[in-house]
């Protein structure tokens, strides 16, 4: 990768989506939505792994290419960069419950790349970023409500 393309790289995020034992209901909807995000240029999928954690805590990782019928994910699989190392598997699986299956998705936020690049050209540097969980917003609202009620 050249320095020019590195400067244009968008922020990279990941999620681990757990499917507790017996609760998965794969209709193809997730794959279609992911494909739509890729096709619209919103994100670029960098890596995908499927993790399973046995009842005894043993973790097994499966490549997307080893999943039978990929359907919508076929085109995505062909472009994967395989960023994750074997070392990452146990760290990612730490949050999983025994007996569950999880999908790990790593993606580049293409939508953010032009803004990030412009910020760097303007002399800015990223010093913090993060995500605000919905639970934190709810807690904030509830705390405000309690304060308002106490003032009545």
């Amino acid at each position: 990768m050249t320095s020019v393309s590195l400067d244009e790289l968008g922020p990279v995020d990941y999620v681990v989506v757990e499917f507790p034992a017996g609760s998965s209901n794969f209709t193809g909807e997730m794959a279609a939505e992911l494909r739509a995000l890729v096709d619209s240029g919103t994100i670029r999928v960098i890596d995908v792994l499927i993790l399973t954690k046995d009842a005894d805590g043993t973790v097994e990782a499966t490549e997307l290419s080893d999943v039978g019928e990929l359907g919508e994910l076929q085109a995505i699989e062909a472009e994967l960069a395989e960023l994750l190392a074997a070392d990452d598997v146990d760290h990612l699986a730490a949050a999983m419950e025994p007996g569950s299956t999880a999908g790990v998705l790593i993606w580049e936020n293409l939508w953010a790349a032009p803004f990030a690049s412009a910020a760097r050209r303007s002399g800015g540097q990223l010093i913090a970023d993060g995500r605000i969980p919905i639970q934190a917003i709810i807690a904030s609202i509830e705390a405000d409500d309690e304060t308002a009620t106490a003032g009545d």
């Binding site: 074997a86 146990d90 949050a95 639970q135």
Partner: protein, 54 residues
């Protein structure tokens, strides 16, 4: 099935065990109280003219 050999022996990018995020589903699952809660959260992230933080 095993991971591809290219993934073995490399330094990982996830530096430490990840913590489990609180499950969001309960906050957005349809039902009397959760729906009300969802509406309040939606209001909190909706643009509001003249809102004061303090």
């Amino acid at each position: 099935m095993p991971l591809r050999p290219e993934r073995v022996g490399r330094v990982g990018v996830i530096r430490a065990p990840v913590a489990k995020t609180a499950v969001v589903a309960k906050a957005v699952t349809p039902g009397r109280a959760p729906v009300a809660k969802t509406a309040v959260v939606a209001a909190a992230v909706t643009p509001r003219v003249g809102r004061r933080r303090i």
